[in-house]
Symmetry: C2
Subunit: 454 residues, 2 copies
């Protein structure tokens, strides 16, 4: 193992420069004009897997391809580890807020700035390099490995579950390892105990046959934008509780041990407030900020549009208003039940004089880890050895719906071992990854493979 870590140390310059090549490919899955780039990133990744000593294929799907890397030389007694990541990235817009070009990795203040550096190319590539370190040093790996890298994570992974179902045998494994999350704080390696799910909708309120003059017609019909405001406002009460009928029926009340573990983390509300630059924190009554972020559901408007939004006054009475509204879910909520509940609620609160359409845009279940067992312990040990401190146990506010799907379809527990840091601007301009974490992360993963085999 010492040689493996020494190899990583000596090759770090090359490992970074290869990553920068990967980051240079604008594999923006949401934009069809980047389809060729996205495919090119898949092929680039497959080639690097081969360079590392894996076999690798680019497999077509109805959308962007899936890259599958394999090494099965550890024998039947060794565990098989499925490593999941994604090679697609979010759109970089707004471009003018980037301090350096989004697709030209730039080192500043110990960080690698580029779209995808943290989410998820940088973290996915750590695995490729950790695998290479073993194979280059020892000619072998302590585990059997399947790496599955998709190109549609940022668009809701529409083709991944069908792929997993169709290839369940080939993807069969004992444990799933995913590096697409953050450490709780610099220097504090982290294992996740949960992820929130997502139920994302578009609510469209429709009024008259066309936009109308607000003077000529105002007062006589329901304004769809006013109606939409009433609808959105009705989704939460004064205590920040979501008002949909039965919404909390499936919400797990977490054990006191987990809540105590959350309280023990190094965290300060005032620092968090200052970092976000808001006048005050707010959320569901009766819960701390970290609990609100990890173990409680939310209702957030992600977008809203109606009428005239340019400069100055246009006295239009719009005939349409739209809001994108999403709920972050916690175990054991299900998107389909939230949809039913929202439909029932809309029937109750929609004012007369308008029609409402509810469109389901995206959904994914929440996930709760088994925070025990030999694989979990192995991960904790590897992180402690690499970072010199016992890992934190943290929740994840975001959603990686595939985690629950992997566990269900493959019958293997998932380990969420991530190396980005809070504030690393995922999905925003100036995304970054700490160079130190790129280096230590590769080492930690190399150690993890070793310990998973024990």
């Amino acid at each position: 193992m010492a040689d493996v870590l020494k190899f990583i140390d000596s090759e770090l310059g090359r490992f970074k420069s290869e990553l920068y090549d990967f980051l240079r490919i604008p594999s923006i899955s949401a934009k069809s004009e980047h389809d060729a780039d996205t495919r090119s990133a898949a092929h680039w990744l497959a080639d690097r897997m081969k360079d590392a000593g894996l076999s690798a294929e680019v497999l077509d799907t109805p959308g962007h391809p899936i890259v599958l890397g394999e090494w099965r030389g550890a024998g039947d007694d060794a565990p098989t580890v499925l490593i999941y990541g994604h090679y697609d990235v979010q759109p970089p817009e707004p471009l003018d807020l980037w301090e350096s070009p989004p697709f030209e990795a730039t080192e500043r203040e110990g960080r690698i700035y580029a779209r995808g550096s943290a989410d998820d190319k940088g973290q996915l590539y750590m695995h490729v390099k950790a695998l290479e370190a073993h194979l280059a040093t020892n000619g072998t790996l302590p585990i059997n490995v399947v790496v599955i890298a998709e190109g549609e994570e940022e668009v809701g992974s529409p083709n991944l579950v069908p792929f997993v179902e169709a290839n369940a045998e080939r993807l069969g494994c004992d444990v799933v390892v995913i590096s697409d999350t953050a450490m709780f704080a610099p220097g504090l390696p982290t294992l996740l105990f949960s992820l929130r799910g997502l139920a994302y909708f578009e609510i469209v309120v429709k009024g008259a046959k066309s936009d109308l003059h607000s003077g000529e017609y105002g007062g006589s019909i329901t304004n769809p934008a006013n109606a939409l405001a009433k609808i959105v406002a009705s989704l939460q009460d004064e205590d920040g509780r979501i008002t949909l009928p039965g919404f909390y029926d499936d919400v797990v009340e977490w054990d006191e041990e987990t809540r105590e573990q959350i309280r023990s983390l190094p965290y300060d509300d005032e620092e968090y407030r200052k970092e976000l630059d808001v006048p005050a924190l707010a959320g569901e009554k009766g819960y701390s900020t970290l609990e609100r972020l990890w173990i409680r559901p939310t209702c957030d408007v992600n977008g809203m549009l109606s009428g005239y939004t340019g400069q100055g006054a246009k006295t239009v009475l719009p005939n349409m208003a739209m809001a994108k509204v999403s709920f972050r879910l916690v175990p054991d909520q299900r998107p389909s039940r939230v949809k039913e509940s929202l439909e029932a609620h809309l029937k109750q609160v929609t004012p007369p004089g308008v029609d409402v359409d509810l469109i389901e845009v995206q959904g994914g279940r929440a996930w709760r880890a088994r925070v025990e067992g030999k694989f979990f312990d192995a991960a904790a040990e590897a992180l402690e050895e690499a970072f010199g401190t016992r890992p934190a146990l943290a929740g994840g506010g975001g959603s990686i719906p595939i985690v629950g799907e992997f566990e269900e379809k493959l019958g293997a527990p998932a380990l969420l071992v991530g190396f980005s840091l809070p504030g690393s601007n995922l999905h925003a301009p100036n995304e970054w990854l700490a160079i130190e974490n790129y280096e230590k992360g590769i080492g930690a993963l190399a150690l993890l493979y070793e310990k998973l085999a024990q």
Copy 2:
């Protein structure tokens, strides 16, 4: 008088073709790329006034110019009539919804389709032609005339009041005549007894320093778009009453005579509902549709914007949300008091965790006519003679803030005598004016000048 009307009849073809030249000039006051067009429309109009026998000037303002036409040959015993109109038009967008080009007048089904045909070039030009008919036939006019045509009505007339104040003596008059409104129904000439005022605001809710990931941060801070929905929803109660403190203090309760007059008009809720294609009409409890449109104030969202509004899901927690919210006012409400009241309301209802800015965009007072007196009677007689039926007395839902200003600054009553028709797509694609009303309107105005002198 018979000769004047005969002249109008014989010259109608030319009157239309001149109007089509006027309509061809895209004098879109809101768009600076059309500044030259707007100025060119002013000069075209001044030239036509001269052709008609008036003296005419194009007078500069800090914005678009004002055209002033004068004829003062009727002597001191004759009344002086100020005719107001505007030569600027609304932007034509969305262009793809026009069935014929917006700046190429097209006759279909007895209508002239073009931007500005009804609002207000067509109606303004009727006056020029009615004046010409008198002067060409008799070499004189029964009244002294000042025609004031502005080029900024569609952008809130920022320079008109200062102009009126600076030129009060030159604009001195006994009565103001404005043709920028509609008849209540085809064949039913109409005099307005009121106009609503306007108080137009932008409410901007600001949260964190930047957009955030709705998974990573959702639940811990106030979402500005959710907060904006709460604010907008709070502006009206379940009965459609506006909740701002003191909002109704200055609202005039109209006399039973006026309400009876409104009830007597040929109007049907179900026809109106079908025409607008809404599932139901709605508005303030306790009032009929026409009362809601004319004598009761409103609160309408004109535009709303926050976060991601493109296709599909973007899990953004926006850091800004904006709504354009306007109130139509009735006598004796004042925009300044509404602003104070809205400010007080925002302080009460804004949830913690966000900041709110209130921006005043536009304001104008409501107007109430004196529905009696010799000028009013003269107008009623002229309309009855031209259309063969007693004119209706109707309210106006829209706002022409200058009406009240003229009355106050010049000490003369205003007559609102308009010839467009309901549904003529003002401020929308496919604006039109009935050809019959263009012809009859010119005759009615020629008669009006005659009767105002009696």
